[in-house]
Symmetry: C2
Subunit: 320 residues, 2 copies
């Protein structure tokens, strides 16, 4: 069992605390996509739930914990998906949820955060500015700050995807995971390294937002001055040291992909798999596109982690 | 328990014979869609599997039965989805599968039937011509003819969707089911009337292909001379008497919807739920659009039965 902040027994127990609507998501081979990519491709689909991303797995744990502690309010920074998920999980438990997001986040994400009854505050800067502002709100109001990837519940919630991958198919050679703050990558990676250590855990990040990947390669926190990618869900600049430590333990590789590969991957997921996905969800396929030889003839699983995308932007990128 | 050709114990047992990749599909509330439709909407998503439709549930039973009987070949007529599913289920069991389809069926469906290793024969007429030709092939070659909706396995396979709906949520007021040959409508309807008789079972068919709906209302088989709808999956003209008998027992209503409502429903499923669906899968939402008062404030579930659509046609209809 790799030594990280995560715990396999807790992750197994977490399944009981997560609303079943987020669990046991589809896992299936997509032959048409695989044929085009030159390898066998299995899709783990995390979009068919009330918030259209995997984040509900983690926020169910967070909100359940806060509720158990008698807390009545929480605040988080979000690129858009965590905010929806915390809004959903909080509403069920009567928690007042405040979400801080960048004004540049996709309108679809911002609208749905509001629709879930959360208070939404917008900042003019990027996600890192939203993080600062959320911390400030937490201090001023004396409410709990939920920090994606740092809060172990967000990692262990995402880690339940790993349980389903490990149970579902003994035959994967590699799993491709979008890398942002690191909750999903450390969570899924930890479970796979614990239960199926022969499976290669490959994290994928956009070249335009490479902070965590560079940090992984240099084995120390590397920050960047800016992030420039359409993959808004993974566009952080300040990796969290504790999360990097876990990632160093569980990831076999971290790779960067170009924007045009992300767009091609989104188009292939539409044309070959019939799926509308947000850019972050296309990172795995983009990684195969950029290194076909590495994956030729192998069986890869990729987590389709979200489908919250502005359709206008989507059509502009994919040119449908 | 309503008296039909179907049997609840057999349907429960069928779950053991169906590959799990087709079972326990996502069932979730889509609030954004519900808000626009003026009612609570739950989606039962049957597209996240290797054949992108619910038909695998039935073909798993059919192919397992044939395999158990030592058969080595089968033929079916298909609008496109049954052929893919029988191809998939047959290939796993070493069955030679022949599919007869209309030359006018969506190219995407025809390509995928071939890709699954099935022999594909095209006829110049419509689905009813394909049925005649498939029967002829079965007689000449002495192989088993698989008949959608008539073969009880196709109905009881689809009926496992009903088990999941009945288990999943006690609170539906109505379930909206696409009506074509009747396998899904009789299957899901039978289980709901057995286990949750208070749930209204509403079948939905296009006005341009109304044979089964007219038959249901007139309580006798009514055929039509032609079918004119974009919903290729449900465009039959000759209802099967035994299936009509079952439908008369389990359906509370059968309604017809206009083509423009189907298109609007497809667009809403894209814009509000992030789902690309084939026209047949949009029939339930189309029915709500055409009779908002009937569903106002109620909780409806709709089965998103397939996503095999030619993207060019899709974009032309939905104008994305």
């Amino acid at each position: 069992m790799p030594a990280t902040r995560l715990d396999l027994a807790r992750i197994r127990a977490a399944r009981r605390d997560i609303d079943p609507v987020f669990l046991d998501t589809p896992l299936y081979r997509c032959e048409v996509l695989g044929r085009e990519l030159g390898c066998a491709v299995s899709i783990k689909l995390e979009t068919a739930n009330p918030v259209r991303s995997f984040k509900g797995r983690g926020t169910e744990l967070v909100a359940g914990l806060l509720d158990g502690q008698g807390r009545t309010a929480a605040v988080c920074a979000s690129a858009g998906n965590l905010g929806q998920a915390l809004g959903w999980s909080g509403r069920r438990r009567g928690l007042d949820v405040t979400v801080v997001a960048s004004r540049r986040a996709p309108v679809a994400k911002l609208d749905r955060i509001r629709a879930l009854g959360a208070e939404l505050e917008l900042v003019d800067g990027d996600f890192e500015m939203a993080r600062e502002r959320a911390a400030q709100i937490a201090r001023r109001r004396g409410i709990r700050l939920v920090e994606d990837s740092l809060d172990i519940e967000t990692c262990e919630g995402a880690a339940t995807i790993g349980l389903e991958l490990a149970d579902g198919a003994p035959s994967f050679d590699a799993v491709l995971i979008a890398l942002g703050g690191g909750a999903m990558a450390t969570g899924v990676g930890y479970v796979l390294k614990s239960l199926a250590p022969e499976v290669e855990v490959i994290c994928v990040q956009p070249l335009g937002a490479p902070a965590m990947t560079r940090s992984w390669h240099q084995r120390r926190v590397v920050t960047t001055d800016s992030a420039d990618t359409i993959a808004d869900g993974v566009a952080g600049r300040y990796p969290i040291p504790a999360v990097l430590d876990d990632l160093l333990t569980v990831a076999d590789d971290a790779v960067l992909v170009q924007e045009r590969s992300i767009v091609t991957a989104m188009r292939m997921l539409l044309e070959r798999a019939g799926l509308i996905v947000e850019p972050s969800a296309a990172l795995g396929v983009a990684a195969v596109l950029e290194d076909r030889d590495r994956f030729a003839g192998r069986h890869v699983a990729t987590v389709i982690c979200g489908s919250n995308v502005d359709l206008d932007a989507y059509h502009r990128w994919v040119r449908t």
